[in-house]
Amino acid sequence: MALSLAIRDVDAGYGAVRALHGVSLGIRDGETVALLGTNGNGKSTLMKCIMGMVRPTRGSVTLEIDGARHDLVRLSTEEIVNLGVAMVPEGRRLFPKLTVEENLLLGAFRPLARADIGKNLAFCFEVFPVLVERRRQLAGSLSGGQQQMLAIGRALMSAPRLLLVDEPSVGLAPILVSHTITKIKELKERYGLTVLMAEQNFHQAIRIADRGYIIVHGEIVFEGDVAALEQNELVKNYYLGSAA
């Protein structure tokens, strides 16, 4: 029951624009890893490389799961999802004209998830009680915070082993950001997930992270555990305000 993800020397971009330069990153089983950086530094591109939505021009992305190695660079997004990797995308990407329940049920599309659909739906409703009340409501009519809960719940419905969360805090009020991050931690612990979270909100992210990477202009400039991150000069400059 082991899982690990290894990203080695990845270059990737869009057309002539290179968004990632020689990025390496590793995630071990059961960890919560934070990918920290401000807007436009390549966090989302890296997430998309893992999901097969952006193809690296160089380097490797390898998922090892229960002793089998999978070269994610050669797989389609659907095949990667079928291995047990789920992503909560930036901007949530819900199906606005489907109901809350329909969105959740679609999350269980992959064959392996269908067997546990009842159990996972009950689990989602237990963790996010607000979704129970609104199960017949269209996803597009939910508030931002509720939509984020639904997006996380929907990803969970695919019974993932590795959960990628891209900027859960975007567009949410501070109290909701805190709530969302707490929920991710709760899920991780109860579900035994391994989590990679891209986030700009340093303080919130390190509340639940075991380790973190800082990405600046498409390069990993720092890697370390939470204590090391908090002491890092770059972090102080970027997030904590060096003058203060």
């Binding site: 659907e78 990407r93 819900l94 606005p96 004209k97 329909e102 992959r110 998830a113």
Partner: protein, 291 residues
């Protein structure tokens, strides 16, 4: 001129007619309503279905409804193939809006011309024991050549409704035009989902065709009469909604029948476009549209 039995007969005839319209429109409710593909060739496929029913009925005496059900799987594969071509030629490169429309125009003309070349422009019809019979309840007539299509169409609608709302594939079909990338993140291949849905839409044309030729004789270009009606029904029903489509079909049938009875049959083709114009002006999301 006006009398209660005339009104009752007009309403019943309209409901039966509307039920049949649902079979005509249901394929478009999937293909146009859910996938956003403007398949104006859909009624032409219905005519093909009608001709297959005619051939097997006139040669072997098969019941037209049975022929429709048997032909549906073949139509499914043809539909899936056509979507593949449409995807590779237009959708993949983002040219579907205009070139795609021209493509389906072309498909429609090819079907019509091929049918004319083989069978000529004569009207063709089918034989079945129930076609000449009429049930009469009180002073209201229920001609079986209308009642049978109504019943088959209602069953088809119920089956598609259940499929769309209770299966993984059905839900994926509803989602695919909303956000294909998010659907990929659910582990579904959007192109395969659309191909399946398009096949399903065309499969319904086999059944609708068999119903069309039960109601009355068919010639190759009669499908054109149904283009406006079918699109009007899908829009009035709220694009993808199957339930809305069925109710919209009944409304159109009733209004057409009333207009034909009280204003004259020559007005009834105008009803669909009137309904379409009013819907777009007053309630663009349709009766059961999700917004």
């Amino acid at each position: 001129m006006f009398s209660a039995d005339l009104l009752a007969n007009a309403v019943v005839a309209g409901i039966l007619l509307g039920g049949f319209y649902a079979a005509v429109a249901i394929g478009l409710a999937i293909v146009f309503g859910q996938l956003d593909i403007v398949n104006i060739a859909h009624p032409a496929f219905i005519i093909v279905g009608a001709y297959i029913a005619y051939i097997l009925n006139s040669r072997f005496g098969f019941d037209p409804v049975l022929v429709g059900l048997l032909a549906a799987p073949a139509f499914f594969f043809v539909g899936a193939l056509i979507y593949r071509v449409y995807f590779l030629a237009f959708e993949r490169t983002g040219q579907e809006s205009l070139s795609g429309l021209a493509f389906f125009f072309g498909v429609m003309f090819i079907i019509e011309v091929v049918l004319i070349l083989i069978y000529g422009v004569d009207y063709r019809l089918v034989q079945a024991g129930y076609i000449g019979q009429t049930w009469r309840i009180g002073f209201v007539d229920f001609p079986l050549r209308m009642l049978v299509p109504f019943a088959v169409s209602a069953a088809l609608t119920a089956a598609i409704y259940a499929y769309m709302s209770h299966t993984f594939m059905g839900r994926a079909i509803q989602a695919v035009a909303q956000d294909r990338l998010a659907l990929q993140l659910m582990g579904a291949d959007p192109v395969r989902i659309k191909q399946w849905a398009f096949g399903l839409g065309i499969a319904t044309a086999a059944i609708a065709g068999s119903l069309l030729i039960i109601i009355g004789p068919v010639e190759p270009s009669v499908g054109r009469l149904y283009i406006g009606r079918a699109f009007a029904i899908v829009v009035l029903g709220g694009m993808g909604s199957i339930k809305g489509m069925f109710i919209a079909a009944l409304i159109l049938g009733i209004v057409e029948s009333m207009v034909a009875t009280f204003a004259g049959p020559s007005w009834s083709p105008a009803v669909a476009f009137g309904v379409l114009a009013l819907t777009l002006a007053l309630r663009p999301a349709g009766l059961f549209g999700r917004q």
